[in-house]
Subunit: 227 residues, 2 copies
C-alpha cells in the first residue's frame, strides 16, 4: 500500500510514517515545503537504517498520489489544506488524525470547531473525498519508536463504509493495533475531544496511554455486525 | 462506606447499587418516589439473595445522608436535582455518572450542555459540593450482573483532590475496576461525550464495551504524579 501523509513532518505524522513503513507500506511524507519533508524522510531512514523503510519526502500535492492519504497537519490548517487539495482527494480515502487541543494552564482542553470536529470540517472542505477519522489516540512517542510494541484499539469513524474498511485494514496491518468500526463521522467530535483526556493523563502520570476496548468481541468478517 | 445513589432507580444507578453492595458497601437508592426506590431495592435483594447485600430504597433527601453520593438521574434532571438538594450536598463528595446522549436515527450522539458537561452543571448547581465525574463508561448490563467480572478503567475528574481520591478509592473497591485520576472537571465534557462512541460501538457490534488504558503505569502512592 502507498500511503501519503499530508503535513507529515510533525511528531504525529512522522511517527506514523515510520511505523507504517516498518510494516512494509511505501510512505510519502508530504509538506508545503518539499525540502522539509525530504529532510524528515532522511532523518527517519537514518534513524532506522536496518528496517528497510521506504519513505520519501515530497510536496503535499505529490503525497496525494497514494492509495490512502493521512491528514496530520496542525488542527487549524487541516480543513484549508483539504480544500486546497480537494480535486486531488476526489474519490480517495482520507484519514484525519487531527485533534484540536489547547493547553490552558496546566491542562489540555479539547476545542470544538464550528463544524463539530476536524474530521467533519475536512469532509466538508473536500466533499468528494472519503474521509475517515482514526489514529487520534495513539501515543506519538510510542508509535515513533519502532522497537516499542503498540497495544491499542484504533477507533475508526466515517460516513463511507469503504473508507472505514480501508482504514481498519491499514490499522490491522500494524502489529499491536486493532481497527474498530466506531460508526459514522459524527463520532469524530467525541473521539477527537477524548484525546485531550488521554494527553492530560499522560502529562499528569508521565504515561504514554492509549486505549483498549474490553467487553468487545467483534463478530467474524461477513457477520451481521452493522445492524 | 455508605453510598447514596440519587435517581438510582434507572438501569445505570441500580446496576451500580447492586455492584457496590456486593463488595460490602451499604447502599441507599434514592428516588423522588421513595416507594419506587424501595421497590428497586427489593428487586435487587430478591435477585441476589445469597450475596448479603445491604440496599435500602429511600427518598433522594434521605439518600444524601451518606458518605458518598452518586448522581444517576437522566441527564435533563441532574442539575436541577443538585440545585434542589444543594444544602444537603454541602461538603460532600458527589459523583456524577450522568451522560447526555440522544439517539439520532440509528446512532447515538453526545449532547453538549451549555455549561460544557453535566458534571460541571451539577457543580455549578451545588457549589458547596465536591463534584467528581466518573463511571460514565461502565456497561450497565455487565455492572448489574454480579456474576460477571468487570474489566475497566474508570476515568475520574474533579476540581477537588479529595473528591478524586474518594472516587478512585470507591472504584478500586470494585474487583476488575481501577480508578484513574483524569484531571480537572473540565475533562468531563470529553469523558461524557465519549460515552456516545462506546454506546454506538455496543449497538453496532452487540458488545458491552468499556475501556482500559494501555501504556499507563501509575506512579506509586505518594509519588510525584501531579506535577
Amino acid at each position: 500500500m502507498i500511503v501519503g501523509i499530508l503535513g507529515g513532518t510533525g511528531p504525529a505524522g512522522s511517527a506514523l510514517a515510520a511505523r507504517l513503513a516498518s510494516v512494509g507500506h511505501e510512505v510519502r511524507v508530504g509538506s508545503r515545503q518539499p525540502d522539509r519533508a525530504a529532510g524528515i524522510a532522511r532523518e527517519l531512514l537514518d534513524k532506522w537504517p536496518d528496517d528497510g523503510l521506504r519513505i520519501a519526502g515530497v510536496g503535499n500535492e505529490a503525497a496525494c498520489e497514494s492509495d490512502i492519504i493521512v491528514l496530520a497537519t496542525p488542527w487549524d490548517g487541516a480543513a484549508s489544506l483539504a480544500a486546497q487539495l480537494a480535486p486531488r482527494l476526489e474519490g480517495k480515502v482520507v484519514i484525519s488524525m487531527v485533534n484540536a487541543l489547547a493547553k490552558v494552564g496546566d491542562e489540555f482542553q479539547a476545542l470544538i470547531p464550528p463544524s463539530g470536529s476536524i474530521a467533519i470540517a475536512v469532509q466538508q472542505a473536500a466533499p468528494g473525498a472519503r474521509v475517515a477519522g482514526a489514529y487520534h489516540h495513539l501515543p506519538a512517542r510510542t508509535v515513533a519508536d519502532l522497537r516499542a510494541t503498540l497495544d491499542a484499539d484504533v477507533l475508526v469513524c466515517s460516513d463511507h463504509p469503504m473508507a472505514t474498511s480501508a482504514t481498519v485494514g491499514l490499522t490491522d496491518s500494524i502489529p499491536g493495533c486493532r481497527g474498530v468500526d466506531a460508526g459514522r463521522l459524527s463520532a469524530a467530535a467525541a473521539i477527537e475531544a477524548f484525546t485531550a483526556v488521554l494527553v492530560g493523563i499522560n502529562v499528569k502520570h508521565r504515561a504514554h496511554a492509549s486505549i483498549r476496548l474490553t467487553g468487545y468481541d467483534p463478530a467474524p468478517a461477513g457477520g451481521d455486525v452493522t445492524r
